[in-house]
Amino acid sequence: MAGANTDIELQLLAGCLKGDSKAQEMLYKHFYGYGMSVAMRYTRHREDAKDVFNESFFKVFENLKTFDKTKSLKAWISRIVTNHAIDFYRSSVRQSIVQHTEHLENIDVASAESPADTLHAEAIFELVQNLPDAQRLVFNLYEIDGFTHEEVAEQLGISVSGSRATLHRAKQRLKLSFQNMIGEAKKNYESKF
């Protein structure tokens, strides 16, 4: 992805290279929404996502001089966030699956005609975040960020077949979690009447 930087991004980039703290803040704000969504996909909690994103942007500011302006700044930042999320996963010892159901009320089951209509963004993030770490990483890297199984395997230190199997289990788990969500939401809806 080359040459996709906007004028604003280039101006902010120039300001950051001069050490302008205001430009740094503006650049951070400019990519906050996108970068946080990337971090949220790879982490289980919002607080973790914030830590990953801030650590990533710390690296962004540190390495801004090495950035090739002809390439996409957004993609570069996304890559840094992803790498840092993987590092965060590697250093994390938490492997358990934690079920969160506090956002089930976001599912509009009464008018649902298809799964796409029933899922709000927060619920989708919740589904992904509830995946075990390895499945969440593989799913994000392969399905969202477009890496191949070979690249995923290399980044995570697993085999290619292991990557494929992990992705399959992730999808199965997502579907199961979604069906559970639907079932619980229907129960909650029926109990109100």
Partner: protein, 431 residues
């Protein structure tokens, strides 16, 4: 959930995950900003500050030194042209003045005082008499040096032309034009071109009144501090920030050196006596050793006198000039030692009243009082001063509870040498 809906399900998940953005949380940035290395704050003595100060000072110096020269030069050129135009008429002056045209001139200029006088002189003073009275030596030199006439216009034509110009301005008499017309009619009689041009330029620029490009003023300044101001001992604030408010009554006298005042035949016009009176309110805030700021407001009055001698009649008269101005010195004070300090800054002089009795010409020998308001301008102050200052070297505190009786006041006389040019001032206390 069939296959189609499963594909739709995952496509929707992927789309949502790719496009979802989160609202900005400023506290997250605050956490990161606290970790980022701080950018070095620009120091007080940053290069840009001194560059800016240097540019300002240089501009002031150039402005103060060269602008009046340019004005004078322009005046000289203009007057030189005028003189050249009149060159031919000079040669034929006696003949022209004797013709009946004088009557026409007198009639044409009957409504203008100066012209009346001029014409009256033309009537009453013959050309031979005028040459004999005061212009003979100069006229002889001039006649020896001058070239052949280059313009065939007669005096009457030129004066009429000037008169028409005056009338074009709805009856308002333009002094400079009258000056040109009258002076061209009289001073051309026997003076050299150069001298006449200088004279013209001087007269034309005298109302500006701030011909102070080079000054050497010897001041004796006495400071009187008004009661009622709060004060504190120096010791209380030694090595601390010093806030000083001074109200100074300034009485001064000196000499003003002016290269441009050459309107006298006497050999002493360059040094003119000058009297100054003013009231200076000055507030300064600076450390015992360090950098501070000083801002003052000075009303000053100045009067100078100069003896001038008519080029026409040889009569000696006194020309007085008065100036009223407000001076706004804004200085950066650097005091590294008790005895000396450097003040660098700008001081704007805003003249608001300039009065003078000027030697206009032989015909208008009584002079003419003028109040010039149109020449208000900002002037850089360029001077070299040496003198003595008597002031109460007290530090005045802003804290009202610290008060000392008036008996505690003491005079702290000191001599000083002050050199200032274009806003840069070096003050050295001699004792």
């Amino acid at each position: 959930m069939n296959l189609n809906s499963e594909d739709q399900f995952f496509n929707h998940i992927k789309h949502s995950l790719r496009t979802q953005e989160f609202a900005y949380q400023p506290e997250h940035w605050n956490e990161l900003a606290a970790r980022l290395p701080k950018q070095a704050e620009p120091k007080f003595g940053a290069a840009w500050f001194y560059n800016l100060l240097g540019v300002c000072l240089a501009g002031l110096i150039i402005w103060a030194l060269f602008l009046p020269y340019n004005q004078l030069e322009n005046g000289l050129l203009a007057n030189q042209t005028n003189q050249n135009a009149l060159g031919g008429s000079r040669n034929n002056k006696s003949h022209v003045l004797k013709t009946s045209e004088n009557e026409n001139i007198s009639h044409a200029l009957s409504q203008k005082d100066e012209a009346q006088v001029l014409c009256a002189q033309n009537k009453n003073v013959s050309s031979q008499e005028a040459s004999d009275k005061s212009l003979k030596p100069k006229s002889q030199e001039w006649l020896a040096d001058r070239k052949q006439p280059q313009n065939s216009k007669t005096i009457s034509e030129l004066i009429l032309a000037q008169d028409n110009k005056v009338e074009d301005k709805s009856g308002l008499i333009n002094d400079s034009e009258l000056l040109l017309s009258s002076a061209s009619g009289m001073t051309k009689a026997g003076l050299s071109n150069e001298f006449a041009a200088n004279d013209m330029a001087t007269l034309a620029h005298l109302p500006i009144g701030v011909l102070r490009q080079r000054e050497l003023e010897l001041h004796k300044i006495e400071a009187l501090r008004l009661p009622g101001l709060y004060q504190a001992n120096d010791a209380n604030l030694t090595a601390n920030t010093r806030a000083r408010f001074q109200l100074l009554a300034v009485l001064g006298g000196g000499f003003t050196h002016n290269n441009f005042v050459r309107h006298s035949l006497l050999p002493s016009p360059n040094w003119q006596p000058q009297a100054n009176a003013g009231l200076l309110l000055q507030a300064s805030l600076h450390r015992q050793s360090g950098i501070g700021m000083s801002l003052g407001l000075l009303y000053a009055f100045s009067q100078s006198q100069d003896r001038v001698v008519s080029k026409i009649t040889g009569q000696e008269r006194t020309s007085t000039m008065q100036f009223h101005w407000v001076k706004l010195p804004l200085c950066v004070v650097w005091q590294a030692h008790q005895k000396w300090q450097v003040r660098s800054g700008v001081a704007f002089q805003i003249p608001f009243i300039q009065q003078g009795h000027y030697w206009r010409n032989a015909a208008n020998a009584t002079g003419e009082r003028k109040i010039m308001l149109e020449d208000q301008s900002l002037r850089g102050y360029v001077s070299l001063e040496a003198g003595a200052v008597y002031h109460i070297n007290k530090v005045l505190s802003l804290e009202p509870h610290i008060s000392y009786p008036l008996s505690d006041l003491r005079l702290d006389p000191s001599t000083y040498l002050r050199m200032s040019s274009g806003g840069l001032r070096l003050l050295v206390k001699l004792r």
